[in-house]
Amino acid sequence: MKAIVCVKQVPDTSGKVAVKADGTLDRASMATITNPDDLSALEAALRLKDATGCEVDVVTMGPPPAEGMLRECIARGADKAYLISGREFGGSDTFATSQIIAAGINKIGVEADDVIFCGRQAIDGDTAQVGPQIAEKLGLPQVSYVAEIQKDGNDLVVKRMLEDGFMMVKVQTPCLLTCIKELNEPRYMSVGGIFECYDNEKHPMTILDYPALKDDPLIEVDTIGLKGSPTNVFKSFTPPQKGAGMMLTSDAPAAELAGILAKKHII
């Protein structure tokens, strides 16, 4: 048994977000972080490792600097890392991305009782699509919005959140789970882990580039990258700033506001 964790390096949209004049994101000026839900996915995998001693592999698709994030995952306790990186992959939408990552996971190899962990969604796109689409490409069952995981023989019993409650779902392995932050509290990097994370013998970092993946049966080379992706950005734009409202600055602003609301029949 092993755990494969899909992680993504994202711009930190919780801080100041820089937008260029052409309406695209100025990524260069923004800090990058590991996507928060993905840290919960990694933690879930590490807990499985704590309980069973299984191997934990981390995989990402991104530009070469994403290697730093993978090293951090190793410092948290992961064993091996895979960086899917290639100019040909750039600009891929979720459909294209999931094909590429599925092909990468195919290279790693999915065995009988493996579990693939993804975060529910990434904070840059908020789509929540890539996890389920990887599962489809690999022909695996999926459960999304997972808030609890228990092992039950070769199956898993998971709590799947709904808006107004939850479902308890039993799922066969191998399978793919997408994790929400309520699942756990991600651990920090350990000192030993930080020392070890650049030790390539103990923790090999494999680069999977376009030549390495292009002949995989899960990839159609004409539906990847910016041009091949099924969806295209037709326009991107920033919302207009709303005109300034009225600030109530009298000595009795509450009375002033109540008066206006009554006069305008809002109350």
Partner: protein, 369 residues
């Protein structure tokens, strides 16, 4: 004829996946049907809802007709009683291959967001996530850009003959809007944020006239690799933000006395005519209020008649979910808080002092009417 996702001309009609929970159709279904009607009219084609479940009566199914559907397709089986990705994706993909709709909309609920990507991957087509605006007609799309973007349209060229579905959604936590198209493959799929599209008035005559189809489909237990052991409702009542006319939301500004802050918010909502308490993400993340209260990009999108923001700084993640409210009132200690940029009325002050005064003044103003 073989199914070919590239054969654009072979696809006709707009479909809406209508989600039922415990046999009851959801509000989101009706919102999407209402929006689907608009798109079907722009395309000059038929609008159908598709419902999967167990024991779905004609009467229940025809409800979607009351919001504008010409037809409702029902796939009924004990294996479809509870949602499972495997069963629902199989039946829906098989029906899409059979009927070939050109547009397929799914509510961006926890279930819709699980189902839609799986289907799009299997059908070999694109999928837009959490759309908040949809257009076929380019003239209408340009009108929308005029109102909702800061683009200089005089420099833009548009193809007014274009019949692709233009799917607009927030990106990067609401900092950017992006319009997505899927020009080469069909169906054009999108999940749509609950609470955003306006529900049409229910029309009983149209509901009665709605055609119910129950086509044959193949599904066996062996197709389903997951098993639903139980479905549990949340123990407490969930707050209905989307249906509320009045929402008073609280943010980090109530930190000094959270319980009192929430109480004041509820009292203010009651004084304004009866409403519910919302919250910013900060309080939810800190575990001070449950996630069903959260308004914003990762919470709910709301457009009540009155929205009051108490001690909320107004990060764009929050304002993305409430800026279309009819009247926005903000109370914040910090006069440079960005929330004042979207508010119609602002008061700079300590909410623990201002809100009790405001409650009294509103009661007095109402009594004087």
């Amino acid at each position: 004829m073989a199914y070919d996702f590239r054969d654009i001309a072979a696809f006709k009609g707009v479909w809406v996946f209508c989600e039922q929970r415990e046999g009851v159709l959801q509000n989101t279904d009706f919102e999407l049907i209402s929006e689907g009607r608009k798109l079907a009219d722009e395309l000059g084609c038929e609008l159908a809802g598709i419902v999967l479940g167990n024991g779905i009566s004609d009467e229940t199914a025809k409800e979607v007709g009351g919001y504008g559907a010409d037809k409702v397709i029902v796939c009924d089986s004990p294996l479809l009683e509870h949602y499972t990705t495997d069963a629902y994706a199989k039946v829906l993909c098989d029906k899409v291959r059979e009927y070939k709709p050109e547009v397929f909309l799914i509510g961006a609920t926890n279930i819709g967001r699980d189902l839609a990507p799986r289907m799009a991957a299997r059908l070999h087509t694109g999928l837009t996530a959490d759309a908040t605006h949809l257009d076929i007609d380019t003239t209408k799309y340009v009108e929308f850009l005029k109102e909702s973007s800061s683009l200089d349209l005089s420099k833009q060229k548009f193809d007014y003959e274009d019949r692709n579905l233009k799917m607009t959604r927030p990106a990067f936590g609401g900092h950017l809007m992006a319009t997505i198209i899927c020009p080469r493959f069909r169906p054009q799929m999108s999940t749509v944020r609950p609470g955003v599209m306006k529900k049409a008035e229910f029309n009983a005559d149209k509901a009665a006239a709605c055609v119910v189809e129950r086509p044959a489909f193949e599904l066996t237990e062996a197709d389903i690799k997951t098993q639903v052991l139980s479905v549990e409702k949340a123990a407490k009542n969930m707050v209905d933000l989307i249906g509320a006319d009045i929402i008073v939301s609280v943010g980090r500004g109530i930190n000094k006395d959270v319980q009192k802050g929430i109480e004041l918010a509820q009292q203010l909502a009651d004084a304004l005519g009866g409403g519910v308490v919302g919250s910013s993400r900060a309080l939810v993340d800190a575990g001070l209020i449950s996630a069903d209260h959260q308004v914003g990009q990762t919470g709910k999108t709301v457009h009540p008649k009155i929205y009051v923001a108490l001690g909320i700084s107004g990060a764009i993640q929050h304002t993305a979910g409430m800026q279309d409210s009819e009247t926005i009132i903000a109370i914040n200690k910090n006069e440079s808080a960005p929330i004042f940029g979207v508010a119609d009325y602002g008061i700079v002050g300590d909410l623990f002092k201002v809100v009790p005064q405001l409650i009294n003044e509103i009661k007095a103003a109402k009594a004087a009417k």
